[in-house]
Symmetry: C2
DNA sequence: TCCCATGTAAACTCGTCAGTTTACTTTTTG
DNA sequence: CAAAAAGTAAACTGACGAGTTTACATGGGA
């Protein structure tokens, strides 16, 4: 069955490229099969329809993104370092050109399909991960945040505002150095606002 | 010429709705003429092609958005109030359902068309307006911001992270009350980080 | 080696869409 | 009022796309 898997991969790669360049409506199954070096019928053997192919790709994306998101608070380490680690849990994703190109592809469709949107949202709940982290920092007395959900949104907003959204409209993603500055400045602002002085 | 203008307006309104629901590729000129209660030929009398109609709409959007953006710093007023005014210069836009629905429409296409993206960017340079404002606050000694461009991005990021991007994926826009909270919390964070104590 | 699941190429159906054409009516204006 | 400008309805052209069908090839497990 090595062949089938190989073909499957070729189709998915080609479909990602095609959907990203043309959007769902603009993409053509003929072109996808051509790009995948595979006959059209083979595409339909692997995926029932254009829609099914698109959904499979979003699943694939959600899976890849989710694998990035693991971070928990260590109360014994310096709080600034811990917040920087938290920042990097997002920064890693935003500096990965592959992940970003997929996010970009899905975003265009998501704007028009609220169902797909809420589905993707559920599978990419970054805010809740950050909130959980911040709850722990509050419990240990390192930060004083009256509303950790707001805090999480602000933290993520500060990073995305400079490392994500501006990159949506160009080719490049943020470099490692850029992201490092963004995260440090985010943490500085966050500590000015919510810090308790406890290291 | 009152009739021609009337028809023109009908077409643009219908086209905004259609493009927003279906995207550029998915939109149909037949359906646009139907929605506009106008014959198809009339649409083509007003706009040479689908592309031309879309471009006209983005121009129209850029114009409406630009008209929102006017705010300058008054050094004699309390700094917190001034920053809140600055926040509202953006907040007004983000709480206007009409403006938001147009932004949403264009965004999907912009993700696929870097030329259109840079064109829209130039016509909606919010960051520079905020930077100019912040430069003035630094000059008057009210704030201490080492890098006002970064500061402007952070300020805008804090607002958009909660008042704009989350709303992109749903129907509603932020309410006035929501936006008020968002702006106040943004200003609080900003003053914690960059405030000099001078009122 | 045989067989069947899988792959291939190419033609085909049927629908839709951008844009045009035709024959006619309404509105504006000189 | 008369003619020019703008609008209308409906049919038409040519292209393209999703998904199917047909007839044939291939490769890996029994």
């Amino acid at each position: 069955m090595a062949l089938a898997e190989q073909k499957n991969k070729q189709i998915i790669e080609a479909a990602i490229a095609e959907f990203q360049e043309k959007g769902f409506a603009g993409a053509s199954m003929d072109r996808i099969s051509e790009r995948a070096q595979v006959s059209k019928r083979t595409v339909y053997n692997h995926f029932e329809s254009k829609e099914a192919l698109f959904k499979a790709i979003t699943e694939c994306l959600a899976g890849r993104v989710q694998s990035y998101l693991h971070v928990s608070f260590d109360p014994k380490a310096p709080i600034r370092d811990e917040l920087i680690r938290l920042g990097w849990s997002q920064g890693k994703l935003l500096t990965d050109p592959c992940a970003m190109s997929m996010v970009k592809m899905v975003l265009g469709e998501v704007l028009r399909d609220p169902d797909l949107a809420s589905h993707m949202n559920k599978r990419m709940e970054m805010v809740m991960i950050i909130k959980t982290f911040l709850d722990a920092t509050v419990k240990s007395g390192h930060l004083n945040i009256p509303d950790t959900l707001t805090g999480a949104e602000q933290f993520l907003g500060l990073i995305k505002a400079r490392g994500f959204y501006p990159k949506m409209f160009g080719e490049a993603v943020a470099t490692h150095e850029e992201m490092e500055r963004i995260i440090e400045e985010t943490v500085d602002m966050f500590l000015s606002r919510y810090g308790t002085g406890k290291a």
